[in-house]
Symmetry: C2
Subunit: 208 residues, 2 copies
């Protein structure tokens, strides 16, 4: 047809060939997945995600953390804090995480993602690649820490719809991993995540 | 302050530590960049991008192709073909490519991206990591190939604002690499891109 004739006339045959996820995973020496960290503001999501990444990187794994720091002003810079925008924010993060998984990367996302239906949407999109990690720091501990001073502002009514204060946080009911991020040293929390990944054969054991 | 007291009270000090782009590039053994393939529909952008990826992957590089196949129904699934939506499409692709670069990946994007101002925006966002590759297949060759039958439809008026027919393609004036994708075998085009990357020290020479 048109394509073939054109190919003949210029003596060119261009075949589409693809590097697949399997090929990338084989090269990386580990499977790709999304570690979806969820929890209240101040629960330690982002800190734990980066600490787990550091451990994985130390093992030679291909890793990346997606969090507010690298998407709030970029990919999601056009989004505000309305309900619709929050849903769209989580949708985009899940879609991008899916691209990273396809690229063979162990991808860690750290967002409050307070609503079950949004996390369920991410799980549906990512399928078996979705590993939900609940950073289970109680509200009073998060509020006592108040690392960014946001709880004080929320209590003063300066931040509308703040998760835990004036907007609900719907705790996961079937998270793959629950981490008591409010009551243990971070290295223990990292161990916990690594042990789960190893036990479920996402990674091989750490080199001693 | 609040943070310190909380840390003391639970005997926990959680430090934020980051794996950096430099660390990932050192591990990968190559620099990260965005190879931005632009050209008419049917010019061979996607085919060339995948062929270059295959060559890079064969050298052990971390690679990923972002093209219509993996974002049209996903990340950009909410966008149509209006001018605004096309701009937003390119913006998101550039932002995601930026994340992949941060992750240490040699990232290849394949979109018509017909407008200079949109590519200029991507270049501004990505800075020195942006490598523009113009797939310079003449319109008549693309139309003769008409791989997807789109030119015929566009000529019949069934597709509004089709690039090259009823909407302009603004050829790059200062592309880093210009590839005569309409008149040479694909392996030559791949060689051309690889030679440029090597000469500009993005990658080390291929293992012979």
């Amino acid at each position: 047809m048109g394509k073939r004739e054109a190919s003949k006339s210029t003596n060119i045959v261009w075949h589409q060939s693809h590097v697949t996820r399997d090929m990338r995973e084989a090269q990386a020496g580990h499977r790709a997945a999304v570690l979806w960290f969820t929890g209240l503001s101040g629960s330690g999501k982002s800190t734990l995600a980066h600490a787990v990444e550091k451990r994985l990187h130390g093992m030679g794994a291909r890793t990346f953390v997606i969090d507010g720091d690298n998407v709030r002003h970029g990919l999601c810079g056009d989004l505000g804090f309305s309900d619709d925008d929050r849903v769209e924010n989580i949708r985009r993060v899940a879609e991008v995480a899916g691209l990273f998984v396809e690229a063979g990367v162990l991808t860690l996302t750290a967002f409050i993602s307070p609503f079950r239906r949004d996390r369920a949407q991410a799980r549906e999109l990512l399928g078996d690649d979705f590993i939900e990690i609940y950073c289970d720091t109680p509200l009073d501990v998060c509020e006592e820490r108040d690392v960014k001073g946001l709880y004080a502002k929320a209590r003063a009514g300066e931040i509308p719809a703040f998760t835990g204060i004036s907007s609900p946080y719907e705790a996961p009911e079937h998270a793959e991993i629950v981490v008591p991020t409010g009551s243990e040293p971070i290295e223990l929390s990292v161990d916990r995540v690594m042990a789960w990944l190893e036990a479920h054969q996402w990674i091989r054991g750490e080199k001693k």
